[in-house]
Symmetry: D2
Subunit: 346 residues, 4 copies
Amino acid sequence: MIKAGIIGSTGYAGAELVRLLTMHKEAEIVWYGSRSYIDQKYASVYQNMFQIVDAVCLDDNMDELAKQVDVIFTATPQGLCASLVNEEILSQVKIIDLSADFRIKDVSVYEKWYGITHKSPQFIEEAVYGLCEINREDIKKARLVANPGCYTTCSILTAYPLAKEGLIDMDTLIIDAKSGTSGAGRGAKLPNLFCEVNENMKAYGIASHRHTPEIEEQLGYAAGREVLINFTPHLVPMNRGILATEYAKLTRDVSYDKVKAVYDKYYGNEKFVRVLEKDVFPETKWVEGSNYVDVNFKIDTRTGRIIMIGAIDNLVKGAAGQAVQNMNLLFGLNEDEGLKLVPMFP
Amino acid sequence: MIKAGIIGSTGYAGAELVRLLTMHKEAEIVWYGSRSYIDQKYASVYQNMFQIVDAVCLDDNMDELAKQVDVIFTATPQGLCASLVNEEILSQVKIIDLSADFRIKDVSVYEKWYGITHKSPQFIEEAVYGLCEINREDIKKARLVANPGCYTTCSILTAYPLAKEGLIDMDTLIIDAKSGTSGAGRGAKLPNLFCEVNENMKAYGIASHRHTPEIEEQLGYAAGREVLINFTPHLVPMNRGILATEYAKLTRDVSYDKVKAVYDKYYGNEKFVRVLEKDVFPETKWVEGSNYVDVNFKIDTRTGRIIMIGAIDNLVKGAAGQAVQNMNLLFGLNEDEGLKLVPMFP
Amino acid sequence: MIKAGIIGSTGYAGAELVRLLTMHKEAEIVWYGSRSYIDQKYASVYQNMFQIVDAVCLDDNMDELAKQVDVIFTATPQGLCASLVNEEILSQVKIIDLSADFRIKDVSVYEKWYGITHKSPQFIEEAVYGLCEINREDIKKARLVANPGCYTTCSILTAYPLAKEGLIDMDTLIIDAKSGTSGAGRGAKLPNLFCEVNENMKAYGIASHRHTPEIEEQLGYAAGREVLINFTPHLVPMNRGILATEYAKLTRDVSYDKVKAVYDKYYGNEKFVRVLEKDVFPETKWVEGSNYVDVNFKIDTRTGRIIMIGAIDNLVKGAAGQAVQNMNLLFGLNEDEGLKLVPMFP
Amino acid sequence: MIKAGIIGSTGYAGAELVRLLTMHKEAEIVWYGSRSYIDQKYASVYQNMFQIVDAVCLDDNMDELAKQVDVIFTATPQGLCASLVNEEILSQVKIIDLSADFRIKDVSVYEKWYGITHKSPQFIEEAVYGLCEINREDIKKARLVANPGCYTTCSILTAYPLAKEGLIDMDTLIIDAKSGTSGAGRGAKLPNLFCEVNENMKAYGIASHRHTPEIEEQLGYAAGREVLINFTPHLVPMNRGILATEYAKLTRDVSYDKVKAVYDKYYGNEKFVRVLEKDVFPETKWVEGSNYVDVNFKIDTRTGRIIMIGAIDNLVKGAAGQAVQNMNLLFGLNEDEGLKLVPMFP
């Protein structure tokens, strides 16, 4: 039985981790960290967990935690994990960091987009970017996994095969993404109030959203060159779900079958990536509550572009589900252990 | 491995049954019945099941089905199950009927409220009303289980202990219930369109809703006398969830502790009924996607009334989850097999 | 041209006042009070008002305001209006208070339910309860109008004719009300976040909501005796709208036509109260954005009860619209001036 | 007083026309056409109009209508207006067609994208494309106005100034648009059910949506050359609102101030187009219920692209509001008559 500790267990991503690990047969949570709710019953913070979780919330003591658990999940604001981690801790315990601290290899890029100084740049190099379908073998050997962002998971996996195979002109790639509101977290802020979000739609972080360099770095690895993209996130009135609509010029004249074969080459054996059938396009509801990524594409011969579309549940494959998938890889379990979640509809 | 067949597998309740049975370790679905989608792939009707269910939809042939499966679920319009069932079928297979056909013992009451002639009144007597927490032992021995309605499950369980113990004046019982829209089914009808339901609230079936006599009958058994109530359902703009707010005069002066003890007496050992802590009242989100019933109460000494509140997921405890719970009882499995679902929040 | 000042113009009720007065031909807003946003452009707080309102927000100086305007609207937390008002101010200006400060005649009841000391009890007696359809003539002569609460407006008007005519047993009256989330205000509180409200339903303030004594007082006047009721509000995932479902025993055997005639007697000439046709029941969407109150009823001969249902837009007839209606009465304008708003659907 | 007739008055666009014209001081509706509801009271189809509209629905008799009214609005499926109109009718009455029949000048393009044969190609040439801000003078003299589509209105106006001034490379223009569900109409279709739309997001009509050639034609006029674009619409769970996010390469190095000046050149005097302040981006809620188009832009120097964003209420500026604006132009009224609608928030 894997002993898990969660720092930041009372945010939405942390709570989803609790939900998933509670149903996981090979893991148990022994530490519910939450700076805001120390000594309060976890189930009083999330009443859905009444009679399911009896524990009280604890503090952020990573040193102590490292002694008690096999894996630490940090579902915390940017900068916290980097400020707590050290060699002694990493020698005792695996860390899966759901923040952005170890996702970006170039520390100056991180510091520029996030506006904070990185406290542990020495661990950036060894950290493995935890996009399981791409970095599976490296993850298995890692001590520190940088769990990808929600938008980035969806955005990267949707375009990855075509970037890797050189089928799209990376200079023309535009990603227009839409997200449910849980991605904004559980902070009590005016823009996240029901009446401000409901019956409303908006773009935000235009040409400045922090997931941009993360997508650029990973798709850059795939393409074998530096990549600059436009990424625009939007907020829509729903709880869960990310839809990414991506546009790029094709580098050559290709058929549907050819492109489909490329997607199948990379994802045909992936349990959690479903390449939909021809002319069936992803809808976020079809993956809700599950770890699936649904993808598909359409070639527009009029403009020479391909439109790629992907959908995930931002709290599952975009956060907690992928974190559990990474844990499974780290500990040699079946990759889908605890993740055989059938999407809930409606 | 229990072989299950579903007649009506493409309605919302049927689809939820598919979701739950797909995750159930002791059961497998071998017949996806759907009159509307015969020969179509199930996953083309519910794309969330892509790569999870490969089967195609079949017809309603209950005779053939009885030979192939151990249990038949009928998630069909009123009247269909009664028109198909016969002694030969019942001698071969267990039936769990999610329609109202066998819920009401007095056939004239059924025919009056439902406006149809009952085709198999000879089986009404033996059918067991499948409210597991109340009729557990009878269910275990049944051939034919009448799975309760969604409103009725919530309404009955919320008031049951007090009705049973004579703490409330049944002549004063008023049930004001609110439901998400999945309870209205997947029929393409104008009142169920997004723009008609969203940002809207209404009462319907006022003093005439068909779940009224079902609640009256069951609470009448508990109270040991005939009961007439007011039951008013409301439609609210959400997918899942029922909240029942119930009002009654207390028959004597009782304390919070006394009433709490009564609820605990009946539900203290029930896994799926959670009596919440003092002054914490049910919210539908806390049970979403799970088989839980959350209940609590408040005594109003000013008026001498008690307000009882209950919440369920109408598609789980209000339909498919309870059907699976009944299947578990029928086949001697752990009652929570396949139902250890942690509520999803948000 | 009536000069109006608003204290608390940046809450949702204040913002709705701004919307309505902006479209009102006989009034203009000359003071946008907002303690939280002093010196900021009003349109930066509510971007929908960009290029419509150019003013900046001002402070709460009621003395100064009294010199500059003809009418002051206070859309502020409980206690504020009572703490600011004095005889000099009332001799200069009309006040329409959207808070509860002057709604309840018995100051001890107010202080008990609201938990604050009333700072100006000397004005309670002269204040007129601004439910226009009931107190029209008194309002016309008032200096200080206590604008009714949202739940109370809907709850009272729905039952008023029957209470007045003695057709219902007031000891059996139960009001189960449901509201959209704008009623909770624009404060940045966790329970009002989108992800907490969306896909969720709950009761709150059970047997303790502050609108209870206000309803009891007004229906008590109608009935000619003291009244105690059960009032239970619920939060539903929508922006606007209140639906009240009310239950009471009939005091005598009456027909639909007789009850309809009673409603028509009181509301037949009321522009803003619509008694719907037989078996057509109010839906909140049908009044959204307008000052209408829709009401109807159903007699249940089985239980001897009548079910009365009413719907309003909580921000219009439940707050700002009624305030404008009161202003029109105070200044001798047509009562529907600026309120000829056609409900928006969908 | 302008006498108006509406063919197709019971769809959502038709109903919005009724709402707007009911509040219009210079117009009255004398013919509520609705093939589906002939002889039924209009207010029984839209209960929000109870006691506001007393008329019953009539048929589609355009010949008769032409004798009785000054202007006919056709809010009907594609092909209907073209099949009814003729020279005699046009000599008697103005027609504002809300369908696509007369929007596209090249009949072969229309027939290809819409898949129907055009019945009155002889009137295409004289029909004026009713995008008021662009074609104001021509509209004033027209007999037949082709009211623009909802997506197209928003998409065109958002990019128009930059296309006209040659600041963007039209070959790189990508329009990613998102719409509320009222745009799908009031037809009782499964994909438009509440439970299918709520908590869901999807793209549709990918590389094939009918508004594509309409946008291409109009932006082509602005750019002075033929234009091919990618246009992808998305469905989001809300009633009203369109948000268009548009991407294009800048043709030269320009500053924010320069681009802002270009927008102001075209829209500075337009009442209904609001160019927002720097770094304030359109949200659909800010225009809800009104005829406004909110636009803004962001230059991304990293990629050399400009991101342009626009928002409208699809039923107002995207349909009925623009139709009324066109009527005002046709009859020499103030362009904003009946359209001084303040956006409703929340």
